[in-house]
Symmetry: C2
Subunit: 211 residues, 2 copies
Amino acid sequence: MTDQTPPRTHPVRVLLAEDQGMMRGALALLLGMEADIEVVAQVAAGDEIVAAALAHRPDVALLDIELPGLSGLDAAAELRERVPGCRVLILTTFGRPGYLRRAMEAGAAGFLVKDGPVEELAGAVRRVLAGETVVDPALAAAALSAGPSPLTGRECDVLRASADGATVADIAAALHLSESTVRNYLSAAIGKTGTRNRAEALRAARQRGWV
Amino acid sequence: MTDQTPPRTHPVRVLLAEDQGMMRGALALLLGMEADIEVVAQVAAGDEIVAAALAHRPDVALLDIELPGLSGLDAAAELRERVPGCRVLILTTFGRPGYLRRAMEAGAAGFLVKDGPVEELAGAVRRVLAGETVVDPALAAAALSAGPSPLTGRECDVLRASADGATVADIAAALHLSESTVRNYLSAAIGKTGTRNRAEALRAARQRGWV
DNA sequence: CGCCACCCGTGACATTTGTCCTCCCGAACT
DNA sequence: AGTTCGGGAGGACAAATGTCACGGGTGGCG
């Protein structure tokens, strides 16, 4: 069903997932200008990725992380299962160490930050297709030093739900928990992040990719 | 600077200020592909904008808002003074109503969100150069409905300083105020925004461009 | 001159938040 | 069998936060 890799028979088929229309369009045009690359699908939401991949069978999926619907990282994990043979290249605004680790756990083949020069992009696509793993060395080091998340699943949920000034009652209602439980989880998260309150805890956890 | 054809004598000279390398490069390539547009300068930081504009005398400055060093909005105001004749087109990720109002107060000639299609971009540059004011109508309505800020200068300062989980003590120390005073200002800001705590107040104020 | 808005500060108070302790349950591992 | 870990919950308590009433001071303006 999937072709092995002889020299190079046809252009690289790329799926592009990016929510910002201007960025998406610009990247598509950019990649399209490369002779050996063809953008076969563009989506703006995370929950459209798998369907599009099944329909267009891309060789490489270029995924943003912050996407409406489904995170690019979650989509990457799902792609790994449902569309094997499609390599995932994460392209994100934030070079958070934790994002990198989560990307790797999700089976991504590469991790690019949008800060870099555009020339990197086409090269990274080709290298990923060739089986290489593309990662910024400095970022890789930072990711290793950060360590894995000490937060439990529920602690994560509660912390996430505490964003934007939600009260304990709000969080409890949203997650169908008792207020006592919410406070306990928040306290645990604050302790594990070594911070002083939810806001700081959330910030720290995000920074380290623990959410 | 040699050919002369009455309506349009030379290509539109564009200055591009955008911190994300990939976005910047992609936009530059994109605009460069238009026959009548020439990107004469690219900068990645807000505090390089004026210098670059003085050096390259662009017709249109395409400015991101979130920039290191100096905000694109502040840069726009400075351009208005030091480089008159250079029209400012704001290009931003967030279509916050308040950003629009502040952009207009800073003398911007146009306001684009990065969500839109890429085709909009070149057209907007041309329309701005022609003297038109380019604004998304829906966004304009939202900006007007939000009204001017009811927050006093100090309330703003305190609210800004409350970001990222800073405690009352932190804010007081940072602004050289008493803790009581900080709490009073926070309370006032919460009241004026119609919210329940600092985090919500800050969020609301940002949303409406009051910070 | 008063009046008003803004600035800065206290003190008292109710509510919320964060901490620590207890307990129960089920799954997993030894 | 026991132990550990995660989820869920309750109570008690201290600290932080938010509210309110009140006092100053300054500067602009009719």
